[in-house]
């Protein structure tokens, strides 16, 4: 249970360090980590801002880079299975949603009593969120003292961890979608850096959904 907040912390160390190197002060580093709270979007904001892109281009770039939150939230919310009294609270807790909390809670929540699921998610995701803020602050403070190899390993840790974590899935349709996603992600990014990821999700996800079902029918 301690690993996910630590992974968020490690990946945010990389972000804090990057933000410092691009002359973003600590307050704005923490603000973007907490308010955007989605690594590809945070990095897109830093890089687009540094290249002098227009405000509209930065905002659109960040939004596109974090588009994954839509399908992630859509398939997380039904697991909460709470009554309508708590509907509004869901809009608050989704701010703490990250790939880490999402992946773990998708595994854990279905095995829990429906009445405690959202409370569990809120606590778990907030712990990850706080880990992220501590990591961003640490990364910013240590930016000039961390050896380059350490920063690189910390940044590498995150995608590697998720690839292995995803590989634990056993549902045939999810496994198929994951394999196709890994294969299609890079070429579709070359095809379109803006839309490649969305295309990858739609094409690989749809094929992953359909192929095992078609194979079962035959």
């Amino acid at each position: 249970m301690g690993v996910p907040p630590l992974m968020v912390l490690f990946s945010m160390v990389g972000f804090g360090s990057l933000a410092n190197s691009q002359q973003l002060d600590l307050w704005h580093t923490l603000l973007s980590a907490a308010a955007i709270y989605g690594m590809p979007g945070q990095v897109a904001m830093l890089e687009l801002h540094a290249t002098g892109a227009s405000a509209l281009a930065v905002i659109a770039g960040v939004s596109m880079a974090n588009l994954r939150f839509l399908p992630m939230t859509v398939v997380l919310i039904p697991l909460f299975a709470v009554d309508d009294r708590w509907y509004r609270l869901r809009f608050l807790v989704v701010q703490t949603l990250s790939v880490n909390s999402w992946t773990h809670c998708r595994e854990i929540l279905p095995e829990m009593d429906a009445s405690v699921r959202m409370g569990f998610f809120a606590g778990f995701a907030t712990l990850c969120f706080l880990g992220g803020l501590i990591g961003a602050a640490l990364g910013w403070v240590l930016a000039s003292t961390l050896p380059a190899v350490v920063t690189l390993v910390l940044v590498f840790l995150n995608p590697a961890y998720f690839i292995f974590l995803f590989s634990c899935n056993t549902r045939p349709d999810i496994v198929c979608a994951l394999v196709l996603g890994v294969i299609m992600g890079p070429p579709l990014y070359l095809f379109s850096s803006d839309w490649g990821l969305l295309l990858c999700g739609l094409i690989a996800g749809t094929l992953g959904f359909l192929l095992p079902r078609l194979a079962e029918r035959n």
């Binding site: 939004s63 939150f69 859509v74 919310i77 869901r90 190899v149 390993v153 292995f164 995803f166 299609m184």
Partner: protein
């Protein structure tokens, strides 16, 4: 535009996806085909993102060689398969190999 306002607007542009997910997800039955299809889309999108980050990274990782990143993942994945799907062990193995390779200038 001030950087504070830019961050706040960027955050709102991200939150739109989260809020949209709450609105759509509240009407989605867990056992429906649509739920399973969207789960596949979400996982495929994340897998594509992680694979893109490893093959065509942005930021500091772009300074490292593709062969170092892929070799580290191959070692990590071999350990993952051989030692009973232990995620943390596989991640640490991949990270150690990656660190050693870039430290030695590979």
């Amino acid at each position: 535009m001030s950087i504070t306002l830019l961050i706040v607007l960027s955050a709102l542009a991200t939150y739109v996806w989260r809020a949209g997910g709450v609105i759509i997800g509240a009407r989605l039955p867990v056992q429906s085909a649509l739920f399973h299809w969207l789960s596949c889309v979400a996982f495929a999108l994340l897998a594509g993102l992680m694979s893109r980050v490893l093959v065509f990274p942005a930021g500091v990782l772009a300074e490292t060689s593709l062969s170092a990143r892929l070799a580290a993942m191959v070692v990590g994945f071999s350990i993952f398969l051989l030692l009973g799907r232990r995620v943390v062990l596989a991640t640490l193995a991949a990270a150690t190999v990656f660190g050693m390779l870039i430290y030695t200038g590979f």
